[in-house]
């Protein structure tokens, strides 16, 4: 007897599992009923393997197929239902919500798309993806992802550039401050020079006062000499009243001496012989008197001058000297103090500016390192962009 081929046996089992009656199976396959029964027994015993099923499921599958046939359904439709059921469960759709889900599907149904158009659309999609080398949503997703990364990198670069500009601006402001400090230092040095010229002026005034004092001493010495001369002229003075007094003195002498007037006159004229001497003496006395008068005027003028000079000298000496001395002391003290303070301030400022420059230098080093990092970051970003384009090109060529 010729053995029955495995395909034939599987056809018998397929019809059996689809709940076809034995007569229908015999008619369809062309085998005898005995052969059909033997094949079914072989499958039940496990000797014949039916893909997708096990022997203990045969009765359940045949009964299920019978019920489907009773209800006018095809097993493939039942399988579709199982797929629907699994997919509903995976989507979290409960059985009682199936009607609502079906209505939802109807709402979104594309009535004007036939299966052919649907397939055509699928092929066009496939061709599009083949041409681009990737699916549409992947292209969109990739584009969005790269756009986000690019935007983020651009924002970060923008922030860093903003920081660099701020740093430049701040360094510029510091340069302006330093310039202002230098100008202030120059102004102080100018003030110091002006004070030095004032001090020199006060020194000149002091020299003039010293000169006036020496003149005062000289004048005092001259006044002393003139006074001695006036005293000496007073001791040799002779006036007219002294003549009458001389006559009365002669008469008294004549009476006293018992001389006549003639004898007295003779004696008197004898005495006149010495008149020249007396006249000379008188002239000398007048000259001396005039000189004395002139000397008195001069003395009085000198006294006034002396008094004025003494007042001026005293005032100048007392006020000027004091003021000048005080001013000189104050100026000297203030100059010394200001000089010391200024030196201290300049040293302190110089030290602080040095410290500031060191801090600026350190900050500059950090900024330089940051700039270097930014340049390397730019280089890395450009390299990454080039790799993206290169990878697209190389992979896209396939």
């Amino acid at each position: 007897m010729k053995p029955i081929q495995r395909e034939k046996k599987l056809q018998v089992m397929s019809l059996y599992l689809l709940s076809f009656p034995y007569e229908e199976i015999v008619r369809t396959t062309g085998l005898s009923k005995g052969s059909v029964v033997a094949i079914i027994k072989e499958a039940r015993a496990g000797a014949l393997k039916v893909p997708g099923t096990t022997s203990d499921q045969f009765n359940d599958l045949r009964r299920l197929a019978s019920e489907l046939r009773t209800k006018g359904l095809d097993p493939s439709q039942a399988a579709l239902g199982v797929l629907f059921f699994d997919r509903f469960q995976s989507l979290g759709v409960a059985l009682e919500d199936i009607d609502r889900w079906a209505n939802l599907v109807k709402d979104f149904r594309l009535d004007d798309i036939t299966a052919e158009r649907f397939y055509e659309a699928a092929m066009r999609l496939w061709e599009l993806e083949e041409r681009e080398g990737k699916p549409f949503e992947e292209i969109v997703s990739e584009y969005e992802e790269f756009s986000k990364k690019n935007t983020r990198l651009n924002e970060e670069v923008g922030l860093l550039e903003g920081r660099r500009e701020e740093l430049k601006l701040e360094v510029g402001n510091l340069g302006s401050d330093i310039k202002a400090l230098k100008q202030e230092k120059k102004r102080l040095e100018d003030e110091k020079d002006a004070l030095s010229s004032h001090v020199a002026h006060y020194a000149e005034i002091r020299d003039e006062v010293q000169e006036l004092e020496s003149k005062k001493i000289t004048l005092e010495a001259e006044i002393g000499v003139k006074g001695e001369e006036v005293n000496r002229l007073k001791t040799i003075g002779f006036a007219e009243k002294h003549l009458s007094r001389l006559r009365s003195v002669l008469e008294k002498i004549g009476e006293k001496e018992g001389l006549s007037g003639e004898a007295t006159n003779r004696k008197f004229f004898d005495s006149v012989d010495i008149f020249g001497d007396i006249l000379e003496f008188e002239n000398q006395r007048k000259a001396m008197k005039s000189e004395l008068s002139s000397l008195h005027g001069e003395i009085s003028t000198l006294k006034e001058t002396k008094a004025g000079l003494e007042g001026a000298i005293k005032e100048a000496a007392s006020t000027g000297s004091r003021v000048i001395a005080q001013a000189a002391d104050q100026i000297r003290s203030q100059m010394a103090k200001a000089g010391s303070q200024l030196t201290k301030e300049i040293k302190s400022a110089s030290k602080e500016v040095d410290t500031l420059f060191k801090v600026i230098l350190n900050a500059g080093v950090e900024v330089g390192q940051m700039t270097e990092m930014a340049a390397k970051g730019d280089e890395s970003r450009e390299q990454l962009q080039k790799i993206i384009e290169d990878a697209k090109k190389r992979i896209g060529e396939t």
Binding site: E138, E170, I360, N362, A363, M373, G377, I395
Partner: protein, 192 residues
């Protein structure tokens, strides 16, 4: 005195400002180093992403072919329609729905044939193909997919730690020199 106080205050403010600038510069340098390392890591990510896309395109191609001439095309089409329907429900987008249907078909095909092996050629062109015993490979040096991705991830980690990976040629050269790649022998054949 007022000037001195003003000067000292200006110096103090300047110092504070410059210290702030220095700290911000230091932080910016750290951020830039971090960004640069991430950029190095992204280079590998870009390469792997391109390879994954090529692999996915191959898989979808197989899905469409299964729709056209695969076995049991009725089940395949039902699976495609279901996948597209659920794709439409999820995305409300025609192309997205079709793509999900094709993906579903591809997965069904893969479940029928078992896990697919892939090989990659790293050269002037970068190609990805499927391989299976019994089918010849096209000419070229074909690298095992898993060994390549493992080596690339290792190289990406080095990039994240600060190593400069260079351009694409340098990356491929490094992978070929240090990646311990597994190359397919010429007797291995690939599936149609």
């Amino acid at each position: 005195m007022a000037y001195r106080n003003s000067f000292k205050q200006a110096v103090r403010d300047s110092k504070r400002l410059i210290v702030s600038i220095r700290q911000r510069s230091r932080q910016a340098s750290t951020d830039l180093i971090h960004l640069r390392r991430e950029s190095e890591g992204l280079k590998i990510a870009v390469l792997l992403c391109g390879l994954e896309e090529e692999k996915a395109a191959l898989l979808r191609s197989r899905g469409v072919q299964s729709l056209l001439k695969g076995e049991d095309r009725r089940v395949t089409w039902v699976n495609f329609i279901l996948g597209s329907t659920f794709g439409w429900l999820e995305t409300h987008h025609g192309l997205g729905a079709l793509a999900q249907g094709v993906d579903s078909s591809a997965r069904l095909q893969e479940s029928r044939e078992g896990k697919v092996q892939y090989a990659v050629e790293l050269g002037r062109q970068i190609r990805v193909i499927t391989v299976s015993p019994g089918e010849p490979l096209p000419p070229g040096r074909w690298v095992n997919w898993e060994s390549l991705t493992r080596a690339a991830l290792e190289l990406g980690e080095r990039g994240l730690r600060g190593e400069e990976l260079g351009d694409l040629n340098s990356i491929i050269s490094t992978l070929q020199q240090e990646g311990h790649l597994l190359y397919y022998a010429s007797i291995i054949r690939r599936a149609g």
